[in-house]
Amino acid sequence: MDKMPEQFEFPWQHSFPPFFTLQPHSETRARQISVWRALILDYFRFAKTCTLDIREASHHPLFNNASINRKLDNEFILAALSDLQRTQNAAPVDKQRHRWEIYWHTLEEWGNLIYNYVTNRGATGSVLTLFELTQGEDVQDEEFCGLETDVLVKALRVLEGEGKCEVITSDDLEGVKFF
């Protein structure tokens, strides 16, 4: 029988009402932001998703704790995401900074994870499809299994910049060749 997916366990701060108000005292605020950073990354890692739209975020269970009737406003969410962007753990996808990608591994880390996997399997020199890389049977136990294609391509582009692979995009094939 399949194991039921466990519920995400929120830290105690998530039930602490002032956690949802940006703190005026600088030290407290720094602590607050750092907890939010970790929480956002943990949550997205747990949910295995990468995308977030700020305009819908105030309904998101991460940013809205209905049981204590507290939620983050968009400004706060933007501040937290900008802080994540500073360390390459998030990036806006559109110019209005509404849609974001969250990288619980930075693109560089993703790239290295994938590259290590490929070299360990001795698959350098061969072409792998993007589908194979994230959905294939062989990668089921890998952390990048199920990684969203947009993020995957960005991570591969980083590797490409390092001369470790070449991303091949044609109409009928999306693949990558590792060196």
């Binding site: 105690w12 009402p17 002032p18």
Partner: protein, 251 residues
Amino acid sequence: MRRRAGVGAIQKQKLEQEKYKDKGNEIQENQFEQMTKQLEVFRVNLEEFATKHKNEIRKNAQFRKQFQDMCASIGVDPLASGKGFWSVLGIGDFYYELAVQIVEVCLATSYKNGGLIGLGELRTRLIKARGQGKQHQEISQDDLICAARKLKIFGSGFSVVSVGKGQYMVQSVPGELSMDHTAIIERVANSNKAFTSVSMLREELNWEATRAQKALDHLLLEGLVWIDLQDVTEKLYYFPSLFTACINATN
């Protein structure tokens, strides 16, 4: 008219005074000697007692408390010095060790409570940190208060705040708390909530709004409270150190 005293009389008077003085000194010396002897006997006895019961003092929290009380009632502080005969007992060491561990727990938790911690939480965390190996050394709240008070010598960085009803909190950030601040902490600690507000303080402590606001602003500035602006009626000020989920959180 009576004749005034001559030189002879003055000298005689002087001589008498000196005699009195000598006698006085003698008596004083006698008393001092006796006192010293008594103290010496007492010191020996106390030392003997402490040596004899060294293990109990180290292991038995209640015994330790009684020994402390006994010492306190006669004005002896076995923790005052690591040197001298008390060092033989290792009683001072016991408390020094505790004090260091208190500092460790305070520092380790200050990121979330801003440097204010309830004695109960402090004790739980400290016992956990001491590990299984020393579980025979039971630590009581009295021990913690005793050790924490010793930390005062480092200045205002550490203080034990009484919050009433036999409850204590340890403050580990520099900056003195005034009577008003302690009164607020006491109020909240004795309620079943972790927050307060200007109107609650007005009602419970009969303060004027400005007085309450000033005290709360200070606590905010010290990082001891967090402000919550999403309540429908007014600003709420939360103590993480009194918030149950924070106290019980493992990290």
